[in-house]
Symmetry: C2
């Protein structure tokens, strides 16, 4: 544990400030030219440095700078998603309703999608091809778990409320259960397999859909991407058991009644 914040020295304050400036300039370059367009010399120029060599006092290299951007992007995305899931967040045209698990799921999906569309290059950084090496640096894994845990919590709350009713009865096979042991070990005891599978499935689908749209795989296929996205994630929520079980397919008649 780092020492208590006993008032940083002036040098240290200047250092963290400069580190922040560097990351900001890099993020600007990222937003404009993409990850491949981030050049240390360009970053140095942006913040008034003549030579890029000074940057090495703050980051051991370009990859480390990228890693820092990845971690920040995960945090930014996590913030956006959690804000959408907060108990007092506005569910789409309607008052907040703590029992509307499907609506909250859809809201989180829209938040993730909106963040990705607003920051396509940052999204590509965290969910595109891993650029630097092949293994994600350790400091990026923790912020990267926020969205999946948020989604998992959504399903857990629905189950607590007795509102979780998946539309199939397919049991989780023994080998799939064993495959999930690493995750189950980090979760509170007593969570049934199928609930974990539901969370993973929802998480996987959400980022599949967002990636397809951001990376252009749906151009010329879907026109009004937002409308289609809304339908697909809502339907997935219903299939996975978050939804109103109404067989007529409509949303609940009354507003949260």
């Amino acid at each position: 544990m780092p020492t208590a914040p006993r008032s940083l020295t002036a040098r240290e304050r200047a250092r963290v400030e400069f580190t922040r400036d560097i990351k900001e300039a890099a993020r600007r370059q990222l937003a404009e030219h993409g990850a491949a367009g981030i050049s240390l010399r360009g970053v140095a120029r942006d913040i008034g440095l003549v030579s890029a060599s000074a940057l090495y006092r703050y980051f051991p290299g370009r990859d480390a700078l990228l890693t820092a951007l990845i971690a920040d992007s995960y945090s930014s995305l996590g913030d956006a998603a959690e804000a959408a899931a907060a108990p007092d967040a506005e569910v789409q045209d309607g008052a907040p309703d703590p029992g509307d698990h499907l609506g909250r799921w859809v809201a989180v999906c829209h938040a993730v999608r909106a963040w990705a569309l607003a920051h396509p290059h940052e999204y590509a950084l965290i969910h595109g091809s891993p650029v630097p090496g092949y293994t994600a640096p350790a400091e990026t894994t923790e912020p990267g778990t926020r969205v999946p845990f948020l989604i998992g919590g959504l399903f857990a709350r629905a189950a607590q409320d007795g509102a979780y009713r998946p539309l199939d009865r397919l049991p989780v096979p023994a080998d799939a259960h064993r495959a999930l042991l690493p995750l189950l070990g980090r979760l509170p005891d007593g969570i049934p397999d199928h609930l974990v599978v539901a969370g993973l499935t929802a998480w996987t689908y959400l980022f599949g859909a967002v990636s397809f749209e951001v990376f252009g795989h749906r151009a010329n296929i879907v026109d009004d991407q937002r409308a289609y996205f809304d339908h697909e994630v809502r339907r997935l929520g219903v299939l996975l058991g978050l939804g109103p079980v109404a067989a007529d397919g409509g949303r609940p008649s009354g507003q949260g009644a």
Copy 2:
């Protein structure tokens, strides 16, 4: 319009052969060092050229070479997927059964996953962050449609056989229907909306799951990735209506009986 294939001249034959050699060398570099590690000078060295400038006689630039690799990768993936879906393909431990739509869907999924794991950098090239510009070059779009069309055909055949029974009854809203018009226009008439949505959903999920695994987002989360993948895609197939509707959740009792 290019002349009929009236026996290429020796020069032309040598040219296509050399073009193939260049792409092979580039693909080797891609497999080893990733897309960012493909250098024209390295490719030139690999095929016995002293200078990289000669490559510009065959490709207008690095991006064009990458584009060619993308198109080839799509074709390679399409081949693998279509082979798995072929009528005489072995369905997982069992004789081919033309009525086993769920088994065929799962087989296609495993084929896509296996190809991606065997060619991770090529997979990253086609389903990771778009590297060169932002819009996919036209010549890559056609081979890129083979897998989604294959999956769509799977659902269409299941519907023809009367075996398509989605587990929900959520109607496709009017705005989502309108969003699908670009795609519906390129499909035979009379295909119901929900069938198209099912195909898109299956396609989206498949590549979400494969991307998560290939890009390492499931490390430390899922152990036996193949077992979990098998379960998740099988379950999605059931939810989307390809599956045995048996409420006990098991596979059909007899083998294709």
